[in-house]
Symmetry: C2
Subunit: 381 residues, 2 copies
């Protein structure tokens, strides 16, 4: 199996959403096609991090293309994505991972897609086989990440949004917090719960926008709500602040979508006070060196007593779905209607009672997601 070409293109995400930290008005993502002699694999760099095509073109694609193809193969004669990732790391200075974990992770994910197609199996099946996991579920939980702030009629819009998600078949939702005053944010919670009922079906996300004092204030009030989780309550690298909060806030906390390498996860576990018996880990696979790196993070979590049942990868797309199903993780996320073609799953994967069925298509399954796959096909045409 040989790589014939790797192509990429930056595409605007076209989202008008804002959370407590920033808005997505200029957001782009890199769509990638890895064309091999057996199949073409696709991926994109998820949402929230800008397109990274220049780094791909200048460093990572040339390094893969200049490698002796034999050196990238596994024992099965197919490309080993981990070997490809290692090759891309040639001549990279240690540290500064976020600058390359996104381009490398996106290309690595596209290689997995190509390899799974070459084998004729869904990626979740290939991942399960590769990492020794037994797939016992025919469907996996999927919650909605939504509840963005709206400039007008915020409470009414929020309730409408939640009704729409429930009508669509979702049962668990996450809404934004930290973008207004605490009283206003609690009114949003109350509004959401009027419709959802059970607070274990509701999570909140502060998007790393709070300092410790503000997060403490929120945590004090949120505690009695017994929410499913309180996500990114403090700064992304503020391990000490996370630990402080974890020591006083009993319900689950969640974090991880802004951790980009194994060392980051290790620091969270060592210094962040991350409670392996309840807290939720949310790495984004193509943004954090790819699926093999992700499997190592899950193994690290388990080595410290954590459970993959509390890993919910960030992303809300077919890539994070494949990881969730293949590695037996807790569940995945969806952002219906938010990130254009880059949100969601294959067109026939509709939620029912909060669950999504595992697809049968070979690879990641982007072929079943028509609007996204149209963008991808332009690359390999």
């Amino acid at each position: 199996m040989r790589i014939l070409d790797i192509r990429e293109r930056a595409v605007p995400v076209r989202s008008s959403m804002r959370n407590a930290a920033f808005d997505f008005g200029e957001m782009t993502t890199s769509v990638v096609a890895v064309i091999t002699d057996r199949a073409t694999g696709y991926a994109f760099n998820s949402t929230g991090r800008y397109a990274c095509g220049a780094a791909m073109r200048e460093r990572f694609i040339p390094r893969l293309r200049s490698a002796d193809p034999e050196t990238l193969l596994g024992e099965d004669g197919l490309i080993d994505p981990a070997k490809a990732a290692a090759r891309m790391m040639t001549r990279e200075k240690p540290g500064g991972d976020a600058e390359r974990s996104v381009p490398i992770g996106t290309i690595e994910t596209a290689i997995w897609d190509a390899v799974a197609k070459a084998k004729g199996v869904p990626l979740w099946r290939l991942l399960a086989d590769r990492y020794g996991n037994t797939v016992t579920r025919s469907q996996i939980p999927c919650y909605v990440g939504g509840g963005w702030y709206k400039p007008e009629n915020d409470l009414a819009e929020l309730k409408d949004e939640i009704r729409r998600h429930i009508d669509a078949g979702y049962t668990v939702l996450k809404i934004k917090t930290g973008g207004l005053t605490l009283d206003e944010d609690c009114r949003r919670l109350d509004s959401a719960l009027e419709i959802l009922g059970d607070s274990s079906r509701l999570a909140v996300d502060a998007n790393a926008a709070m300092d410790l004092n503000r997060a403490r204030k929120w945590a004090d009030r949120l505690e009695s709500y017994k929410l499913r989780w309180f996500e990114e309550p403090v700064g992304v690298h503020a391990y000490g602040d996370f630990a402080d909060l974890a020591a006083s806030y009993a319900p689950p906390l969640a974090t991880g979508e802004n951790l980009f390498c194994l060392a980051d996860v290790d620091n969270l576990l060592r210094f962040g006070g991350f409670r392996v018996d309840r807290d939720v880990l949310q790495i984004d696979p193509p943004q954090a060196y790819g699926l093999d790196a992700f499997a190592k993070m899950v193994a690290l979590l388990e080595s410290k007593g954590g459970s993959r049942a509390r890993v919910y990868p960030h992303g809300g797309n077919m890539m994070s779905f494949a990881v969730t199903a293949g590695l037996g993780l807790g569940g995945c996320e969806a952002y219906p209607g938010v990130f254009g073609a880059f949100a969601g799953y294959a067109d026939d994967m509709r939620p029912r009672d909060g669950m999504l069925k595992l697809p049968d298509a070979p690879g990641i399954g982007f072929e079943g997601q028509s609007s996204l796959f149209a963008l991808m096909q332009e690359l390999s045409a």
Copy 2:
């Protein structure tokens, strides 16, 4: 004062060096010109991180250019680099700092150059005034970062190199470690000390390439040498490993060139076991959000009992020199002959007894560094 244009270009660094972690064979850097109605400022993104022009072109330059010019000014009517940096952070998701700290830091540094020229003062003077530091020295210490591994005649080449540096006027040197066996590395140390004599004039740098077990082995042997410092003994983000080593290795450790934001420094101080009474901090200003962010890191270190006398910025260039002189730091670094036009200082700044005199030229002083300034001028022509 208004920005008229911002231009950038990627330039190969052309270095054949290798350390324990990687080689520089493909390394590039971004040269930047910020053209204003008062003066043109220049900078480059130091060495070790690849050129980042795409991120500049796609996000940071357009954000600066689209800002109301009045909103970027300080009370003196000149551009406030901190306000420019904040503007560049618009619509950036928290975390993932290394992906943007280099392009933002490089543009911010070029703005400082333009502002100092508009005021007609050297940048070190402007920094001292801005951050309330009294400049009492007419010259500052400068050590050589060298001792790269050579493929042939390594020991003889190392001794020749050290003799050249001493003949050139340097008194303190740093050589690589961790790229060979411990015995071989110690033979390099012994060879270096044959010429240098006093081991307090010699530091070693492992470039974050060792795991904890290997670093412990090295530390056990190195301890009796009483070296000036042992730099990046373990992984960049392995705060726990650094703390482990700091608990058992009495002489100074050093780190920081791969920390990119205030939160990284805070984690080093909180979890890394960094000993404020001896360890050395080495942030690279244009790679870590720029000079204003650097000043905040120094303030954080001092708030924890550390001293700016033990801050030695990474970079070995006029930018790190200006910071060292202006903020009253311990000293700066030089890489004679290693990074082509990107190594070193103004042509007339020659070391004497290990010291470099403060220049009088306005701004950073790149104009006095002919080969580098020729590259810079091409941008603003």
